[in-house]
């Protein structure tokens, strides 16, 4: 993992001191809420329905045990004993007092964490592959580039007041776990035929009111020219992106208004003028790369007797292993996904005790490396198969052993009307209802991969556009209704889902989900996921079933 050096630490300390001063001025009444708002937003502090919310950045979703313990401690000391992991791999505390915010930032800084650029119209936290450094699929470690982007974007003087917020995803695997094609910029690491490292550059994906799957503006950008190219993209956007309407201000609108070719032409023209002055030297990239050098793996065989025995002895462990363990690049190791989607729980929430349990498991069995996924789960990327039964037992004890990764109850949901001032409808209870209906693990496994994503309003924080089934809360004359979209995907086969039909009243959503699943189980052919069946049959049979039931 990247270790902060003195320079990184002094930077955070200066930033925390600056915010303390600003909060102080606000509490003394020297500045108004209107003047304070942009300052607090720069530090991830939002005013929500009931309290202040602090959004802590977890750069590219990577944490160590000390950091996770600190988050647990903050949750206990300043919040109600829990935190909420978000689809941007950040952690939100929803019950914060303004007077505590500076102390929290100091505490975060003490473990190299911060809340910088977790809100505002600037470059936000970078999403990366939670399996980075552990999967055999990747051709490079995407964290190297994510960390370099973190540094480059940190209080960038030219790009801190963009037309709208700006999000990066970086992946180096053919299987995309970052939703790269629905980010403002998606970078996919590629190798040219001669072995040179570079990026496919995708620009202008996004969700919100006008979802777009981002087009590729450059098939191969040499890796050493990344930062001048990013500067060119951001400069074209900063100068020409719309600022008259916040709903049309994201880069996706500029790219689609200009057309991909014209946008790419403008970027290339700007890039040529910037030249190599805009690049970060290879020596710095090498320094960062060194920080991600793998720790020593033991030489093990593929088969672990302890693991096989535990599977035979305990069907619950066998089920967990089938669903939550993923292949590791090294023999005898596995990637452990920890579901934060306990049946009936709030997706993405973890109590302070749970965070501490995971921190301890990471330290004992996982090379002190913990990841957050954009699907709101946690990952221990390097666990020995021999240790997996022990990890499972500890997770069980902490109420964290739900064996549902990528299954129907592994639902993404935004905080919705329970917390958020923008929401039209609740999202969490919809997720809880559906998860409870499909609590039978046997049936859930039979259904297989099915990604439900729920947003409480059109801003789409719950990524409903790219759910295999998306659920969007809408307000109809003060009543909560939900619109279903089918066929979306945020992965390498990215697509925006299609609205199935009229919105359903809250009480009908879970029944509709049942009907959709029944159609899938009836129609599916060998090996098809829900998404594959839907793409083959089209929406007719699904529509028929949902609206027949609704009548």
């Amino acid at each position: 993992m990247y270790q902060y050096d003195t320079l990184d630490r002094e930077f955070l300390a200066d930033r925390a001191a600056e915010f303390r001063e600003q909060v102080d001025r606000r509490l003394k009444g020297e500045i108004t809420e209107d003047q304070f708002k942009p300052l607090r937003l720069m530090n991830g502090l939002y005013l929500q329905l009931h309290a202040y919310m602090l959004r802590v950045a977890i750069p590219y979703g990577s944490l160590n045990g000390v950091q996770l313990r600190k988050l647990a401690e903050i949750g206990r000391k300043y919040d109600k004993g829990y935190g909420h992991f978000t689809t941007r791999t950040n952690l939100q505390f929803h019950w914060i007092k303004l007077k505590d915010a500076p102390a929290i930032l100091d505490e975060l800084a003490s473990v190299d964490l911060h809340a910088i650029q977790t809100s505002g119209n600037c470059i936000r936290n970078v999403t990366s592959d939670p399996y980075a450094g552990a999967t055999a699929e990747e051709i490079d470690d995407p964290r190297v580039w994510s960390e370099a982007i973190r540094q480059w974007s940190m209080l960038h003087p030219e790009f801190s007041f963009l037309p709208r917020k700006f999000k990066f995803a970086v992946t180096a695997s053919p299987k995309d776990r970052t939703a790269a094609r629905v980010h403002d910029i998606g970078l996919v690491v590629r190798r040219a035929r001669d072995g040179t490292l570079g990026f496919e550059v995708i620009v202008g994906g996004g969700m919100g009111r006008t979802p777009h799957v981002g087009p590729t503006i450059r098939e191969f950008l040499p890796a050493n020219r990344l930062f001048s190219y990013l500067e060119a993209i951001l400069r074209v956007y900063n100068r020409h992106g719309r600022r008259d309407n916040k709903y049309k201000a994201r880069i996706k609108i500029l790219v689609s208004a200009l057309g991909t070719e014209e946008f790419a032409r403008q970027v290339e023209a700007e890039w040529e003028k910037i030249g190599a002055d805009g690049d970060v030297p290879d020596t710095e990239i090498a320094r960062i790369r060194g920080a991600f050098a793998p720790k020593a793996f033991d030489t093990l065989v593929n088969r672990s007797e302890a693991f096989e025995e535990a599977k035979s002895a305990d069907p619950a462990f066998a089920r967990f292993a089938r669903n939550n363990l993923k292949p590791h690049k090294r023999p005898g190791y596995t990637i452990v996904e920890i579901s934060l989607k306990g049946i009936g729980d709030t997706p993405g929430d973890a109590t302070s005790e749970q965070m501490e349990a995971i921190a301890e498991l990471g330290e004992l069995y996982g090379q002190d490396d913990i990841r957050v996924t954009h699907e709101q789960n946690l990952v221990l990327p390097h666990v020995k198969l021999d240790d997996a039964p022990k990890v499972f037992a500890a997770l069980q004890a902490a109420g964290l052993s739900t064996p549902n990764i990528n299954l129907i109850s592994d639902i993404i949901a935004c905080p919705g009307l329970d917390y958020c001032a923008l929401a039209n409808a609740r999202a969490i209870n919809v997720a809880q209802d559906i998860a409870t209906r499909f609590a039978d693990q046997e049936r859930a496994e039979l259904i297989g991969e099915l990604k439900i994503k729920i947003s409480g309003c059109i801003n789409a924080c719950g990524h409903h556009h790219v759910g295999h089934v998306g659920i969007l809360g809408v307000d109809k004359k003060g009543e909560e209704f939900y619109q279903l979209t089918l066929g979306g995907s945020g992965a390498e086969d990215a697509a925006v889902g299609k609205i199935l039909g009229p919105a359903l009243p809250a009480g009908k959503v879970t029944d509709a989900m049942d009907a959709l699943v029944d159609v899938y189980l009836r129609e599916r052919q060998d090996g098809e996921r829900f998404l594959d069946t839907y793409r083959r049959t089209g929406d007719a049979p699904f529509k028929e079933a949902v609206y027949a039931d609704a009548r």
Partner: protein, 167 residues
């Protein structure tokens, strides 16, 4: 005479502004003036030949590249922030300093707030018409608040990767 916060050799001071900013629909007074880009393109040559100092105000939507060939003749360029949240002038400033080599005064006008002073200074601004009544001491404070920076910009500060290399 309106006052101006001026950055000279790392020090901020309040100075009397010798320039008069003149809207397009007003007649030009004597002395040093700041005029719009449109007016400069129409009347600039004549005004400069009168031997007075001329500055040009560039709006956020206008492209500073239009001034490329005139920059050596200009005493100052004023870049407008229509709202403090409108960051286009940061790009304009960066281009003026880093690409077009402008050496004259680069002035921030419009909704100019001291909390953004750090960014403005890094992008090459050296004169400020604060909209929030802020004083030179506050500008000096924000300019020096961070010991380190991560990127190369129009100012002379060494980015983190250079500092690290020298350590």
């Amino acid at each position: 005479m309106p006052t101006l916060v001026k950055l000279t050799d790392g020090a901020f001071s309040l100075i009397d502004d010798p320039f008069t900013a003149v809207p397009d629909d007003e007649d030009l007074p004597q002395g040093d003036v700041i005029i719009s880009l449109t007016r400069f393109q129409a009347e600039g040559d004549r005004l400069l030949s009168e031997g007075r100092a001329v500055g040009v105000r560039v709006e956020a939507a206008e492209e500073v590249e239009a001034l490329a060939y005139d920059l050596p003749r200009l005493a100052l360029v004023a870049l407008a922030f229509p709202k403090f949240t409108d960051g286009r002038a940061y790009s304009s400033a960066s281009i003026l300093r880093q690409r077009l080599g402008f050496k004259g005064q680069l002035r921030a006008v419009g909704d100019v707030v001291v909390e953004q002073g750090g960014h403005m200074i890094r992008c090459g601004f050296d004169a400020f018409e604060p909209a929030d009544g802020s004083q030179p001491a506050q500008w000096a404070h924000v300019a020096n608040r961070h010991r380190h920076v991560y990127q190369r910009a129009a100012d002379a500060r060494a980015p983190a990767y250079v500092e690290r290399g020298e350590a």
